[in-house]
Amino acid sequence: MEVKIMKNIMHANEKLAGENRDYFQKKGIKAVNIMASPGSGKTSTILKLIEAFGDRASVAVVEGDIASSIDAEKIDSLGKPVIQINTGGGCHLDANMIKVAVDSLNLSDGAILFIENVGNLVCPSSFDLGEGIKMVIASVPEGHDKPYKYTSMFELADIIVLNKTDLMPYIDFDRESFYKGVRALNEKSEIIEVSCKTGEGVDKLAQWLLQLSV
């Protein structure tokens, strides 16, 4: 006997993501899911943004990593609430992990919640966390071909941060090709170039996040 189903396999995750989304919206929380390769500067971007916000925003952070608490300790040293999730080998965060983490963070209304996903340009794109903003960070040394290889990631981004622009003179990064690839997939996303090393562009990115309405 055949049983017709037509049900999305990600159904369970999406249901929980929906609950997270409702919670964030109710409290006016800007939840930013940060997705990028390992070493592209996810943690550095968060640290720079915290500095740039000053007292203009209440910030909390969820740090996702396969192992270690190196990143969480850096956030903690700035005195910001942080939860470390170790996925024990898992390649992405899912909506349930965020739900559990958020329960213990006690976020204030209107806060900015940075969720640093596991460093990986593939898997995190399939798992909705209920975030309001999907931020993808690409860095100059990774090369301009990333949008062509990881299409889903660049297609769903609300904002793309091109980091390490200070390295541009030393690396054969074809800016035009990068932008063309991004725009083929995603006409709407904001693209902001920054250097976490020199601080260039960080204020612009901070401003973009602060002015965003959720």
Binding site: M1, E2, V3, K4, I5, M6, K7, N8, I9, M10, H11, A12, N13, I83, Q84, I85, N86, T87, G88, G89, G90, C91, H92, D94, M97, V100, A101, V122, C123, S125, S126, F127, Y148, T151, S152, E155, K180, G181, R183, A184, L185, E187
Partner: protein, 119 residues
């Protein structure tokens, strides 16, 4: 907070198995013979990996020994210039007809269970 699980496909397979078991139960079936999946090429899933996890997870459930059928859907892009719909070329997004810049469509993102064969 430590969460112990591994590849992407582990979570996906668990979710798929749960849906299949639930739907089979609802249909009053005692055995699942086949699970037919529709998976777009842009959804980041390896068939072999799903099959491997499935064989382990389904042990002792009504889905044990079920055959997984993967219906793969190619990623389609649409040309912004001439409207041509084409299979995404291995390199880039350019339209094979006029060279214009293609944009993604919904084809290639499928990720669902189409049906079950049960007893």
């Amino acid at each position: 907070m430590v969460v112990n699980y591994y590849m992407h496909e582990y979570a996906v397979t668990q979710s798929m198995l749960n849906i299949a078991l639930e739907e089979a139960k609802r249909a009053g079936a005692s055995k699942i013979l086949e699970i037919r999946l529709v998976i777009g090429d842009l959804s980041t899933i390896l068939d072999d990996s799903v099959q491997m996890y499935f064989d382990i997870m389904s042990e002792g459930t009504p889905a044990q020994g079920a055959k997984l059928v993967f219906n793969r859907v190619k990623a389609q892009f649409r040309c912004r210039e001439c409207g041509e719909v084409f299979i995404k070329p291995p390199k880039g997004f350019d339209c094979p007809r006029c060279g214009g810049l293609g944009m993604p469509t919904e084809k290639g993102k499928e990720f669902y269970i189409e049906s079950l064969e049960v007893d």
